[in-house]
């Protein structure tokens, strides 16, 4: 089988055992890799209702057929498990040398089962698997853990690790790699921590099977150079994603003060120009020629690698407009292994809830020093407040009551990324129907919405755009596994990706074939959701209710007096369901599942919930 190694490494931490398994070509072509492999495996192997932080949960690292092959920008891996934050399938991707090394070790997927009885590091080198005590670094941050690993094995190995957040089962803990890479927003780092697995280290030495290695090499290296040249022409990576902040501020889309405001006169102090001016280093993922990690010095002197999401949510959203202070919060998230986005939303929600009298407390917007202290407490689950903050904003709101759930900025439990959709209906839909909760990675249509349609529209064209982008961003790039940035930020033609896929696999697929796989994956994630939540309803796909509240409308600026309208949003949601072939609950119909070849998967959900014809 070209393109895939055909192997899975299954490790059981309870038994300290491992085995190499194979998968069929049919499985490979139906699910391709990455998110596809993860969603299918977790659906088949996890019983509904298991504790995501118990040994029954499984942690998956999944690669795709072009992972680790030099081509734009393939140094990424998907990490997945049942999420302790949202209660159903959760995943994320991150740049890591582990992608290339796992493939060179001979695997397309790693499944970690059970739980160790003491802190453990998993060391994988080709066919060898070792369970190494990690007591020495348990309780330490991800940076110190990295140094410990590098001292043992050198800097070239692939590393996935967790910080204190994951160890202490903080529900927004992520998995980390390299200097500033993180993935698994819905608490996948906590799943790793629940297994007492501090780190996974991988070294692979064998060639990755490819149908046309010479063709792949020529196309891959040549295209890496071309992407780098295009980036030099556009200048995109000078500011990278931080450049978008002033755009959001200009159009009333910036999260400020727990998303209460959509713009702020001081936002320029943390914009892309200032972040670039403060830059002391640049980091990036393996096989990347448009590195996006704008790195600055934080208030305590650490290197802190920024992108737009963490700048906006740990900066303006907390009313912090000072780069070193905002960078300190970002550094602490990285070191503790916490998701910067969710953490920003959790802290802002806490300040907002105090402001609105839902809970007593001493944290105020703009107080960076107290934010740092709270972040440390959350990572360590220290005291009542630390434990509360470690639960995520939805659980906090349910604890606080007083209507605070309306302004807990989350969908399905996952906190909203850094785009304020108070009056951006299509992007609100994109968050509402994002597969794993309010993630920005799957569809981002704000520029389209503002430039190509009217902002006021709740029409089918916006639902169609969300689906188009879900297929590309949440589908293609997550299952062949590579970074979407060359395409999305610098216009690298999408047609190149089937080309790489075909060179690797020897198949002859086009983009339409990719969309079928993407739709299959989206339907599978919905089945996961339904099996865990048999009372699923369309309201699960509504964004935070504060966006519909006229009392929350801006009093000045480009969207003064405007908020989303609930009945119109519901109509937009229906356009999405209709185009997707989903029923009124937002669940794929039997006919849709049949058309995607998911008969067996549909049958597996029926003991728990009904499907529509």
């Amino acid at each position: 089988m070209n393109g895939w190694t055909g192997n899975i490494l299954r490790v059981n931490l309870s038994a300290k055992s491992f085995k190499k398994e194979t998968f069929t070509e049919e499985f490979a072509q139906k699910w391709v890799g990455g998110r596809g492999f993860a969603v299918k495996t977790l659906y088949d192997e996890l019983k509904p209702g298991i504790d995501p932080l118990g040994p029954e949960n499984k942690l998956i690292v999944a690669l795709g057929p072009i992972s680790g092959i030099p081509a734009p920008n393939t140094g990424k891996a998907v990490v997945a498990a049942k999420s302790p934050l949202t209660g159903f399938y959760g995943d994320g991707n991150l740049g890591t040398r582990a992608a290339e090394h796992l493939r060179k070790a001979g695997y397309d997927m790693l499944i970690v089962e059970g739980a160790a009885d003491r802190p453990t590091m998993l060391y994988i080198e080709d066919d060898k698997v070792e369970f190494i005590p990690a007591d020495e670094v348990w309780g330490k941050g991800t940076f110190a853990c990295n140094e410990w690993i590098y001292a043992k094995y050198g800097k070239g190995v692939g590393v996935l690790n967790i910080g204190q957040g994951g160890e202490n089962l903080n529900r927004v803990a992520v998995i980390r790699s390299l200097e500033g890479r993180a993935g698994g927003r819905p608490g996948i780092g906590a799943v790793m921590g629940s297994k007492k697995l501090k780190a996974i280290v991988v070294k692979g030495t064998r060639p990755i099977p490819q149908a046309d290695p010479a063709g792949m090499k020529a196309a891959g290296f040549g295209d890496l150079r071309k992407v780098g040249q295009i980036d030099k022409e556009t200048g995109w990576s000078i500011q990278s994603t931080t450049g978008v902040l002033p755009f959001c501020n200009e159009v009333g889309g910036l999260p400020v003060r727990n998303f209460r405001k959509t713009h702020h006169p001081l936002a320029w102090q943390v914009d892309g120009e200032r972040c670039n001016n403060a830059r002391i280093a640049t980091y990036g993922c393996p096989t990347c020629t448009m590195r996006c990690g704008v790195t600055v010095r934080d208030a305590e002197g650490h290197e802190s690698e920024l992108d737009y999401e963490n700048v906006a949510l740990l900066g303006p959203n907390l009313e912090i407009f000072d780069i070193p202070q905002m960078a300190s919060l970002n550094y602490l998230c990285d070191d503790y292994g916490l998701d910067t986005m969710s953490t920003g939303c959790i802290l802002s929600f806490y300040a907002d809830a105090i402001d609105h009298g839902a809970v007593a407390g001493d944290f105020k917007f703009g107080d960076a020093e107290r934010a740092k202290e709270l972040l440390r407490m959350a990572a360590h689950r220290e005291g009542k407040i630390g434990n509360l903050l470690a639960e995520g904003s939805l659980r906090m709101a349910r604890e606080f009551g007083h209507g605070s759930e309306a302004y807990a900025m989350q969908v399905k439990g996952l906190e909203v990324a850094a785009y304020n959709c108070k009056f951006i209906p299509g992007q609100a839909l994109a968050f509402g129907v994002a597969a794993i909760g309010a993630h920005h990675r799957e569809a981002w249509i704000i520029t389209f919405e503002i430039r190509n349609t009217t902002r006021e529209s709740y029409g089918p064209e916006k639902a169609a755009k969300v689906i188009e982008l879900q297929r590309i961003r949440g589908g293609l790039f997550e299952f062949i596994v590579s970074c979407r940035f060359p395409w999305i930020e610098n216009g690298w033609p999408l047609e190149n990706y089937p080309k790489y896929f075909n060179l690797a696999t020897g198949l002859n697929w086009g983009l339409e074939d990719m969309w079928t796989v993407a739709d299959r994956i989206y339907s599978m994630i919905k089945l996961h959701f339904l099996r865990e939540f048999p009372k699923a309803s369309r309201e699960d796909d509504y964004p935070p209710r504060v966006w519909f509240d006229p009392a929350n409308a801006d009093t000045e600026g480009p969207i003064a007096g405007k908020v989303l309208e609930l009945d119109k949003y519901d109509g937009l949601l229906q356009h999405y369901y209709d185009q997707r072939g989903y029923d009124r609950r937002g669940i794929p119909t039997k006919a849709t599942l049949l058309s995607l070849g998911l008969q067996a998967e549909a049958a597996a959900v029926e003991p728990y919930a009904t499907l529509s014809d």
């Binding site: 556009t234 200048g235 995109w236 000078i238 500011q239 994603t241 450049g243 978008v244 002033p246 755009f247 200009e250 159009v251 009333g252 713009h263 320029w268 892309g272 120009e273 992108d307 737009y308 999401e309 785009y419 920005h440 990675r441 981002w444 704000i446 520029t447 503002i450 430039r451 902002r455 940035f485 999305i488 930020e489 216009g491 600026g557 480009p558 969207i559």
Partner: protein
């Protein structure tokens, strides 16, 4: 007529500024402004007036705040 022009992202390295008050002839269009500030006409962009998208042929008015941005795609 006086207008405030804001340039966003890497476009500032084309124009040499990120925010400036400009004195423009009456009835200057958005497309003309973009050329005046040194952004190549074929460079993909979105332009807003007081936070709302405008077309290249739209005329600028006294006191407008015009922002010129690359086509961002949300990371």
């Amino acid at each position: 007529m006086k207008v405030l022009v804001k340039v966003i992202g890497p476009l500032i390295y084309k124009t040499g500024f990120s925010e400036k008050d400009l004195d423009l002839p009456p009835r200057t269009t958005v497309a003309e402004l973009v050329t005046i500030i040194g952004i190549p006409a074929d460079r993909p962009r979105i332009t807003t007036r007081n936070g709302k998208a405008v077309l290249p042929e739209d005329e600028i008015e006294e006191g407008d705040k015009i922002a010129v941005s690359p086509i961002y795609s949300g990371g």
